[in-house]
Amino acid sequence: RRKETECDDSWVAYPVLSNEQSLDPELIDAFAAPITDKKETSRLIKELATVYPLRGLQHIKRVRARKEKGSTHPLEVIVCLASDAPDRGMDIFDLSSAGRLNCSGLGVPFLVKIPACPPLTRPQFEQASKHWPTSFHEDKQVTVALKGQLFSPHQKSKMQEYMMAAVAAAKQGWERGMEGVGAVVVDPESEKILAIGHDCRTGSHPLHHAVMVCIDLVACGQGGGAYTYDKYPACQFVLPDSSPSPRKDIPVCGNQPDQASTGESGHPYICTGYDLYVTREPCVMCAMALVHSRIGRVFYGTASIDGAFGSKFKIHAKKDLNHRFEVFQGVLGQQCEDLNRQVNLVKMNS
């Protein structure tokens, strides 16, 4: 078993991307043909653009160079989508659209698969390019993140410190008969921990998952909160620096309509700008609770079967929801995985 050390750099935090960013590109069938007479190239491109415009496929490069050197026909061109030629003619004259396209200079058509959507990440771009060249507007930050190189050594050591606190809380909860899950809320501006919590579901409340506990502890730190956690010394909150007195922009009592909810700023989106570290990927309830609380970013150690970020739903990236945020997995992955294995082992034996 791995030992916890001061500078464990064996872990890498990878971004949990949306399906659009992470799935292999969807492919559609098209007819391509070699350009047998190079002099016809620009005329063919112009005519094809009017006769067979590739609607919604602006990312597709119409012409590609043959990879093999010394080929007799170094260029190939997309003639049309297979769906544009329902008779599926493999003879170039079948594709002439009743003579609207002058096919001279085109060789025997062949079927290719082309990417239906523009690639969003470098891996998708590389995958798409195996089929047909596409344009790619690279988000450099995503590329760096996918290599696991987004965070500086200082950031990594802070991230490790926070996750260690979550692991320690998980262990304390575990010793009290809870599931071994811990979580920490951090203000990345001040680099201060605002709340530490662990799973409290056994015996006291079946919905007191570590994330729910932490959200309520943050509320406690701002003069709110729905529960007390006196029974669990490892569950703690601190008052944030920025608000030594209770925040005035949040109404305390909701019985006057004008005060109770004065637009966006009047709502207790108390986790705005904060980061959550949790040893295990949150369940649907916890993930959506983080959406409601407007969490800034989430870091989890290890995936879980019903997890609602990387494993299922990708709740943080859902377009229909009004708050989206970045999620990373793998922080102190090994220690978090060990915790999880311990939990599962006991579950199996009970």
Partner: protein, 179 residues
């Protein structure tokens, strides 16, 4: 057998109508007090064990939706009688004027509620089909799936929400359910 109990568990039409009527009364009362007009109650053996209203503002906790508040009361009721929450929840129906959000739908699964009866859809956060279908989802570690009866007095529920969001911010009316 618990599974059989859950699957055959269904109140009669008159009961559904009656409990939804009191959920709507709650929502109306909330609206008159300037609160989010959502009425929510949890009924076990013809007895209301939990009655919730949105407590997000006073707790500064964005997860304190009416359902979560009502659930706490059910759990307290069990605690006082030394009953296992699971055996009670498995025979408890949630009546609510608006479709539970994704978070609440998952919470209802986690505590094994068999049936949820609701009024209008929740286009922004709905977890029973509008944004995600949590009761039907394949979530082996998230309690049990539940049945839904929806669309009961839906227009009335929508109207109340519209009225609330209009008075909340006259310059930017938010017609969709936010809770």
């Amino acid at each position: 057998d618990a599974v059989v109990v859950r699957e055959n568990f269904q109140p009669c039409a008159e009961d559904i109508e009656m409990w939804m009527a009191s959920a709507f009364d709650m929502a109306k009362e909330a609206l008159e007090n300037g609160e989010v007009p959502v009425g929510c109650l949890m009924v076990y053996n013809n007895e209301i064990l939990g009655k919730g209203r949105n407590e997000v503002n006073e707790t500064k906790n964005a997860t304190r939706h009416a359902e979560m508040v009502a659930l706490d009361q059910v759990l307290e009721w069990c605690r006082q009688r030394d009953l296992k929450p699971r055996t009670v929840c498995e025979r408890t129906v949630l009546y609510v004027t608006v479709e539970p959000c994704i978070m609440c739908a998952a919470a209802l699964r986690l505590i094994n509620i068999p049936l949820v009866v609701y009024g209008c859809n929740n286009d922004r956060f709905g977890g029973c089909g509008s944004v995600l279908d949590i009761p039907a989802a394949d979530l082996p570690l998230t309690g049990s799936s539940f049945k839904c009866i929806s669309g009961i007095r839906a227009e009335e529920a929508v109207e109340m929400l519209k009225t609330f969001y209009k008075q909340e911010n006259p310059n930017a009316p938010k017609p969709k359910a936010r809770k």
